[in-house]
Symmetry: C2
Subunit: 391 residues, 2 copies
């Protein structure tokens, strides 16, 4: 069931999860959502993972057939879990954590009804806070993703042909992503956050508001996929922002670079430089103990001093954050927004994405992924940061 | 808010939804899940759609900025919905339908708490049953998808190069899909049904069980994406099953074709012919009023008579269905399984996928999408159905 190279790392995750449960007097958690199963067991399966605050975990598997190892139990339906506990002489916990922000209402009620805890708690909230602090194995996965991500970005200029639309350009980049090992699937937290392999924004499409809580918008390919490229012709004087996913392992790096078709108006280069200054000042400020809200405020201040507030993080609709945690999902904790209560801690991995939308030109700016170390932050995504002319 | 060409079709959907609510004495439904918003309003947005059993609907929009039209109301949070109702002198319904199989537990509880209905009902179940019967506009969307799907499948032989792995082959097909207009996103119902652009199965990887409830499995690219191609070399004597998505509009067609690297063992051709016979006999049997379980049973019987039961729908793990409804999601109603209570009705669109897994060779078989008409079924995905030799 458990892959050998992961065993020690999983023990560390279970230890932290157990300690957190003991603090809130939770007796155990029952998990079944793909990202939480992957985090706690190293694989996605159809079934449940039960971790008690004290004692051995149980892997309850419906599918696939053929998994084996200690503590693995096959079942057809969750109603067999309490029967199994009873047969083993084990007690179900009085306080049970369930994935309250991820399980459907009916699934949650079903588990609550069959487990009969006196009290339930929110496993989603707890796991999201634990998952924000990455383990050594997880950090290594980010480094692998970052390497492939950077390699793909180095190939972007070779994807351009004159007369292309943003979508044509995106298809070529997607192909390079896959050849470089992209797993395809790009996981996000929350409903209605459907994005395909990332986003390319060119020209005025960068101003189009989207329904989603991503940094920028774009009309997308239709009202059923309302984000990103919309078929805009890449013509002279257009800024082209490439924010394609770093999903080369289960751990997603996030990186944005800005390209130009020929020469852009001066304000675009100036705004881009301000993005780089915001990044630099963030690297100076960020270290364990620093409130994420302070990093947001510093970014807003710099944009304001430069007179670029109306363009910062969008125009017709402006994002209320300048960065976000990354991990198995694209949007993890912490959040870099004005009211964020999060504070940087060693092991947090996040994306910082100061961006400006310049009407008539497009989006400019930068995004990189950073690891929070003991005394600062380390940039893990690397490639040319100036605006690259594709012509 | 509403696109003109959709207005009449949406009225028809609302009428059916209202009639269904009146039958169960539900006063209204409050929807926010992307597929249900798309179905009822023609677009995905961040917010809520409220349709009362009698009276005008309301579009409550959080994002994107800039939507307009009658009955559009902007809000920041759902708690403003009852305030708005009170200000308008409108009553919240005593029985309210919420998306109980799709909303998270916490979202559901939040809406229930603020709307204070005396009774709640399951909007997911109702919408899934209504969405199973497609409207004229929806059927036209399937026809467009099917056309692009067929065109892409005609290009598949041109994607093959000797020495390729299943993944290399898939990347080339994915690229053609995108160039032919694939929207990328492939929506499924249920948690833990993460599939990228479809599945390619070659050789013994077709035997590998997957956690998911798709027809066949495959190891996938890693334990974080455990379905489909796994890097198998496409060598002489291998069957290659291509089941890549027909997501060329919001409505997904489903189509599988079998390819061969050179000559396969005779049993593979024989099993493939049995798949074609199952398809033919289904076309003969299927019409409004026929139980979907009968279609499943007929398929199982034909496979059994031919002595192919151990290979039907998998070997180490066998799927318990031979077809499924398709629509905005890949797995809609009806289901063609032994215990299905569904009965074919005019307007139902479904995929039929009789498949066999032959150890040492790979998967063979066929899948097409069918529209249920007044007196039978019409195949809407068309391309060569025999095994095509790629060499």
């Amino acid at each position: 069931m458990i892959q050998k190279e992961l065993a020690a790392d999983l023990q560390q995750r279970w230890k932290r999860l157990r300690e957190a449960m003991q603090k809130t007097e939770a007796g155990g958690c029952l998990l079944s959502v793909d990202v939480n199963l992957y985090y706690t067991t190293g694989r996605i399966y159809n079934g449940y993972f039960y971790l008690p605050a004290e004692g051995e975990p149980w892997f309850f598997v419906k599918r696939p057939n053929g998994l084996s190892g200690p503590q693995v139990v096959y079942l057809r339906k969750p109603e067999q879990i309490p029967e199994f506990f009873a047969a083993q002489g084990l007690k179900m916990p009085e306080k049970l954590l369930l994935e309250a922000d991820e399980l459907s209402y009916n699934e949650y009620i079903r588990l609550q009804t069959l487990c009969k805890p006196k009290e339930t708690g929110n496993a989603t909230a707890l796991l999201r806070s634990l998952r924000a602090i990455k383990t050594p194995w997880e950090i290594e996965q980010f480094r692998i993703s970052a390497r492939h991500h950077s390699a793909t970005y180095a190939e972007i200029p070779a994807c351009y042909r004159p007369g292309m639309t943003d979508l044509d350009f995106q298809y070529e980049i997607e192909r390079r992503m896959r050849k470089n090992g992209s797993i395809g699937i790009l996981r996000t937290f929350g409903t209605n956050m459907d994005i395909f392999q990332g986003s390319i924004l060119a020209g005025d499409n960068a101003e189009t508001p989207s329904p989603f809580d991503f940094a920028l918008g774009g009309e997308g390919i239709g009202p059923f996929a309302p984000i990103g490229a919309n078929g805009t012709l890449l013509k002279e004087g257009t800024a082209v922002m490439v924010d394609m996913a770093g999903n080369y392992t289960a751990y997603i790096t996030d990186m944005t670079r800005t390209f130009a078709i020929g020469r852009l108006p001066d304000i675009a280069y100036r705004a881009h430089q301000v993005s780089l200054v915001i990044q630099q000042e963030t690297e100076r400020l960020a270290r364990p103990g620093v409130p994420c809200a302070d990093i947001y405020r510093q970014a807003v201040e710099i944009a304001g001093k430069e007179g670029l507030s109306p363009y910062f993080m969008g125009t017709k609709q402006q994002a209320g954050f300048v960065g976000h945690g990354i991990g198995i999902q694209l949007n993890e904790l912490p959040v870099f927004s004005p009211r964020s209560a999060d504070t940087l801690q060693p092991g947090m991995v996040f994306a910082l994405e100061p961006k400006f939308v310049i009407p008539g030109v497009g989006a400019v700016g930068i995004e990189n992924s950073f690891l929070t170390t003991e005394n600062g932050v380390e940039k893990i995504t690397r490639s040319e940061e100036e605006i690259i002319n594709l012509k």
